[in-house]
């Protein structure tokens, strides 16, 4: 394991990974008995006649990513993993969100209360047999790469579209697109290519699977094993279990969030970001969030892809999570993550992550509404 020296000015990613490698490195290794017992169990399972397998439909992918790695751990090229998105100014600069003192909290409470009222009076989309819930999530990702003295900072756009059948056990489709749109904040494309900076390959890939389980799922249940869902996997069944009483929902959010980054607001954002939260529950979420003591308006005109809404946040920390709501309709437009400290030459107030979500009803899988 690498030496941990704590007095250097700065560590690069590899040094941090080394430090993480030391965490829990003293865990005892697998015993010979365990090795043998598990081996016997595996081979016994593999020798049994097959039950009708229910394959996860992950075939049919574009093979764009190619083989990876060749063994050793990624030397990470200092291509710092990167935030999903820095919002973009027309002039090509990094958007600095306002760090001016927040307006009175009452503004935030009023915004959410009104949004809840609007939502209650709206109608949820009706999908119907043979049609599909269509969800599109768009984000801008920031790539940071330093080559000697040359700094490269660019943004690239990614779009994820999902078609969910009325019966979730039927086949879902997910289409992931790297659009090739880039904005250079520092450096330019020619210089980056000359310096060997890896750029996101442009292309579209499709994944198909029942229940939206696009990767092999746990246990012998195969796909659809976790229809019940949870906060990190908010299925319809899970949403149905959540209280519609705002006080009770607030209590659940606070209890569940514990000291998770983003807190109760982040937890609510995870669920709202699915785009398909029924209106009674969406209204309850909005009302529950008004009970957060430090809820505040971060930006009255947060621009997500041209969709402008009110950004609300709560809690502290090195990053501020925000939800963005259309004050005219109560719709959840998306979310942002704002850096509250300097990082990689990007000033506090940089919008690190910006995601917008849209929904619709599609007539066919793969067809946009």
């Amino acid at each position: 394991m690498g030496e941990l020296l704590v007095d250097e000015d700065r560590w690069d990613d590899d040094r941090w990974d080394d430090a993480v490698r030391d965490v829990l490195a003293d865990t005892p290794p697998m015993t010979d008995e365990s090795f043998t017992a598990a081996r016997a169990r595996v081979l016994a399972g593999a020798s049994r006649p097959e039950h009708a397998a229910d394959p996860v439909g992950v075939a049919g992918l574009l093979s764009g990513a190619g083989p990876v790695g060749g063994g050793g751990r990624s030397r990470a090229r200092r291509r710092v993993a990167v935030a999903a998105g820095v919002a973009v100014l027309a002039a090509g600069g990094v958007v600095a969100a306002s760090l001016t003192p927040a307006p009175p909290a009452a503004g935030a409470v009023e915004t959410l209360t009104r949004a809840a009222d609007l939502v209650v009076g709206s109608a949820d989309p009706v999908v119907g047999p043979g049609r599909f819930r269509y969800t599109v999530t768009r984000d801008w990702a920031l790539a940071v790469d330093d080559r000697g003295d040359h700094r490269f900072r660019h943004l690239y756009e990614g779009v994820v579209e999902t078609w969910q059948p009325e019966d979730p056990r039927a086949e879902w489709l997910r289409r992931q697109t790297v659009t090739g749109k880039r904005q250079w904040l520092e450096g330019d494309e020619d210089a980056a290519r000359a310096a060997g900076v890896p750029l996101e390959p442009t292309g579209t890939r499709e994944l198909r699977a029942p229940c939206g389980d696009f990767v092999p799922q746990a246990g012998g249940g195969g796909p659809c094993a976790d229809l019940a869902g949870g906060w990190s996997h908010p299925t319809d069944a899970f949403l149905a279990t959540l209280p519609r009483d705002p006080a009770e929902l607030h209590r659940r959010l606070v209890a569940e969030a514990g000291d998770l980054p983003g807190g109760p607001l982040g937890l609510a954002a995870d669920v709202l970001a699915t785009g398909w939260v029924p209106k009674d529950l969406r209204a309850a979420f909005y009302q529950a969030l008004t009970r957060l003591p430090d809820l505040r308006v971060a930006d009255r005109a947060a621009d997500l892809d041209g969709r402008v809404g009110v950004a609300l946040t709560a809690g502290g920390g090195a990053q501020a999570r925000e939800i963005v709501i259309d004050p005219a309709s109560g719709r959840f437009l998306g979310e942002r993550l704002i850096g509250t400290e300097p990082w990689e030459g990007l000033p506090p107030g940089t919008v690190w992550s910006f995601t917008s979500v849209g929904i619709g009803v599609a007539e066919a899988s793969g067809a946009q509404p």
């Binding site: 941990l4 993480v20 697998m30 081996r39 990513a65 990702a141 746990a218 998770l260």
Partner: protein, 177 residues
Amino acid sequence: MTDHVDTPDDLAGLYDRHARPLHGYLARRVGPEAADDLVAEAFLVLWEQRHTFDPARAGARAWLYGIATNLLRHHARSEVRRLRAWARHGGPGAGEDVSGRVAARTDAGALSARLAESIAALRVEERDVLLLVAWAELTPAEIAEVRGIPVATVRTRLHRARTRLRGLDVVEAERNG
């Protein structure tokens, strides 16, 4: 080295190569006893779904770690408890140092302990990506394949995780400055 999983012999070969390191990864995340079960379960899932994974997209090793990470979905709370307990007990090698680098070792132990606390505080999906890189040595591209998410999302999560850990850097600099 073949990545085919066509026959029980192929599976046995994969098991012999990868079971111990996979157990190491799982044991660090949820403890050795739970890992005993999860190792077997991961290989069985790999076997059940052998027709659905594409060696051209990622090797069997990467698929195994992806499956194993899915199996951890219901263990998040015990993982957090484990990390915090380890942090409270002072991290690695507490009190054992006999070399001339006492201060550095002590600092290292303290830092590792605080890192463990920080890892415990990460969102589950960020912790998954961080530990798949640092403990399982998967690349972001491999993680994207086996988790079924865009590589940009993997990088985002890794970035957020590392940024949160970097918060410690500032703290350390202040303490040592």
